[in-house]
């Protein structure tokens, strides 16, 4: 079944198409949810809400652009709304931490996806959200500012600190390995 037929089936509320759509995108979207959520239970809640929205508003998809991108936007927005309800805080942590030099590629290329997921999940909430939105989803700081209702400058500083913390954690991992 093509993606087009799948979407049409979901618009007609055909149960098999809805199930197929879920199976096709659930894994990737679960990964997105896990990156934003604080724990797996929260990720499951976000996932549930996001797919309910997807089925409810799928008839609004205009068949313009990537369908996966459309789904991903809903999942990301749902995750942000979910975190906002829990008072998403953008606080500075460890301002006077050690300076981390720019990492050479060989310092991190050996890291697998699960390692990266684990490292990202250890970031503070504000850092993690901005890092995800900018680095992985590709939103600009202005867009992030609108989405999170913060200044673009705040988004930039949160990103820098998130990256710094992430690289520091990678260095720590290297030291442990050595």
């Amino acid at each position: 079944m093509t993606e087009h037929e799948l979407i049409r089936g979901c618009i007609r509320q055909q149960a098999n198409c809805q199930r197929m759509l879920f199976e096709r995108y659930a894994g990737k979207m679960m990964s997105v949810c896990l990156r934003y959520a604080n724990d797996s239970m929260e990720a499951e809640d976000i996932m549930q809400d996001a797919f309910i929205k997807i089925y409810r508003y799928i008839e609004q998809f205009k068949f313009e652009g990537s369908f996966e991108g459309w789904i991903r936007r809903i999942v990301v927005n749902t995750a942000i709304r979910h975190l906002e309800k829990k008072k998403l805080r953008f606080k500075d942590i460890d301002e006077n931490g050690p300076h981390v030099p720019q990492l050479p590629p060989q310092a991190y290329t050996h890291l697998g996806e699960d390692d990266l997921m684990k490292l990202i999940s250890q970031l503070p909430e504000g850092y993690r959200v901005v890092f995800n939105l900018n680095v992985i989803e590709g939103y600009s700081h202005e867009e992030i500012g609108e989405m999170l209702n913060i200044q673009p400058g705040t988004s930039r500083s949160q990103l820098v600190k998130a990256r710094k913390m992430l690289q520091h954690q990678i260095l720590q991992l290297q030291k442990i390995a050595v």
Binding site: A15, F22, M30, T78, H82, T109, M117, R163
Partner: protein, 479 residues
């Protein structure tokens, strides 16, 4: 500060990354459930049933109301004696119940004689009252060509007064109009025997006295209503009775929720945290029968709908103090007791269950049609109408937009209206006579509220329908 290689590595690694999906997540998402909630009104069987019951009630009520009026005009007698041509012709009881002093028989012996034996060929339909008449009979000869008393005829009060006898004079003379003299002549030949009993099948007077000694003031008082209701065809006579119904009902509310501006998460949480529980309705109604079949009801009733609300409170701290006592024997006779006190603190969540109550006071206004006649011990009826809400209030705990549980009480209803507006009502009633003036009734009903119970500011619309089984007693106030 940018770090493109690092960012690109992360992006390329995680952009297409897929994580294992927890088992059972699909069952939580399943859009079928959501679609059931969003079924429009015209696709709901319960709404169709309620609508059909209301339409059937209104059509039946209208039909019998109008046909009843025409029947009343045709009868044309609001007196104690009615021709009742159609019914009495087919009523075999007439032959048995008309007891007259037949020709050639002693009128004072109270013997019953068949109408056919008396030669009263045509008057089988002539008199249909349930009168127990005490008068010396002389000549039961009746030669009138009429099949019954003319519809426009009137009978003098004096005749009836005499004919009925002393015991019955008050109730009949008060309400019996005067017959025109010339018409009276047609009937003067018809003489009532002492204790002659004419038992009309549709009469409300239920006691048949077979012996004259049974006829006395006490039995009369017990048997006759204060207001005498005229016999007739059964469908067209205006009924002067007033009745009172007292009832109570276990009922179950059915909730329909429509999202306006709430998040899907809020709606899902609300749906999963609340469930309806049985409630009850109790009330009192005045019933005005317009005829033997058609009736109007109104009164006041109290309804309580119950809702079970389960929510979780986070960061609940449970502290446990643990005291450990050890005995150390260092040497014989040198024993030391050591007590260590430690505190164990657990942080978790607690599940709370609250019973929310939605209460309302309403005025029902219904029209009904009852099959059969008042003489039937069991009657079935259909009712339909509207319910006006006087006041309603909600007490309990609800979720706010941040998914926190907040209390709601009568004074600060918040998102719930204090008046629900109009509702539709349909029911089927089954009545059983349990006494001369009392009926026991069972009435399965369905109530559909037209308006939402939430205010315009609420992020969702919530509407309740109610189904239940009313059980109650109906008393006749005229007896």
């Amino acid at each position: 500060m940018t770090d493109s290689p690092f960012d690109n590595f992360i992006r390329n690694s995680l952009r297409e990354h897929a994580a294992p999906v927890p088992e059972g997540l699909w069952d939580k998402i399943h859009p079928e459930k959501d679609r059931r909630r969003a079924v429009p009104l015209f696709r709901r069987p319960a709404a169709w049933l309620a609508l059909a019951a209301i339409i059937a009630g209104l059509v039946a009520g209208s039909y019998f109301w109008f046909t009843g009026k025409s029947g009343q005009d045709a009868t044309g007698m609001a007196t104690a004696i009615s021709p009742d041509n159609n019914n009495s012709n087919t009523d075999p009881k007439i032959n048995e119940s008309i007891t007259a002093a037949a020709a050639g028989k002693d009128s004072g012996t109270h013997e019953q004689s068949d109408l056919n034996e008396t030669g009263m060929q045509a008057n089988k339909t002539s008199v249909a009252p349930n009168l127990i008449v005490a008068q010396q009979a002389t000549s039961p000869h009746l030669t009138s060509p009429h099949s019954g008393i003319p519809q426009t005829s009137k009978i003098p009060a004096s005749l009836l007064s005499n004919a009925i006898g002393n015991e019955y004079t008050p109730s009949y003379t008060e309400q019996t109009p005067v017959i025109a003299a010339e018409e009276y002549a047609n009937y003067s030949a018809f003489n009532f025997s002492e204790a002659a009993t004419v038992n009309g099948s549709r009469f409300s007077l239920r006691n048949n006295f077979e012996a004259p000694e049974m006829v006395n003031a006490v039995t009369h008082t017990r048997s006759f209503p204060n207001t005498y209701r005229c016999p007739g065809t059964g469908t067209g006579i205006f009924n002067t009775d007033w009745q009172l119904e007292v009832y109570a009902s276990p009922d179950m509310a059915f909730r329909s929720v429509q999202n306006v501006s709430a998040s899907a998460q809020y709606m899902a949480r609300k749906d999963s945290s609340t469930s309806m529980r049985p409630g009850f309705t109790a009330g009192i109604r005045i019933v005005k029968p317009l005829s033997d079949q058609f009736l109007l009801k109104t009164g006041i009733q109290y309804t309580q709908m119950n809702e079970k609300f389960t929510y979780r409170t986070e960061n609940e701290i449970r502290t446990t103090t643990v005291v450990t006592t050890r005995q150390i024997i260092r040497a014989p006779g040198d024993t030391v007791l050591v007590s260590d006190t430690s505190t164990l603190q657990q942080i978790g969540y607690r599940n709370n269950t609250i019973r929310n109550r939605f209460r309302s006071i309403d005025i029902p206004l219904t029209a009904g049609y009852q099959f059969g006649t008042e003489d039937n011990d069991i009657r079935v009826g259909i009712n339909a109408g509207v319910i006006f809400n006087l006041s309603s209030w909600y007490e309990g705990v609800i979720l706010d937009t941040s998914l926190a549980a907040v209390p709601v009480n009568k004074d600060a209803g918040g998102m719930y209206k204090s008046r629900l507006g109009l509702g539709l009502y349909g029911s089927i009633s089954l009545m059983k006579r349990i006494g001369d003036n009392t009926h026991l009734f069972f009435e399965p009903y369905f109530r559909y509220n037209l308006g939402s119970m939430t205010t315009a500011d609420a992020s969702f619309k919530q509407r309740f329908s109610l189904g239940g089984l009313a059980v109650g007693l109906r008393f006749n106030l005229n007896r």
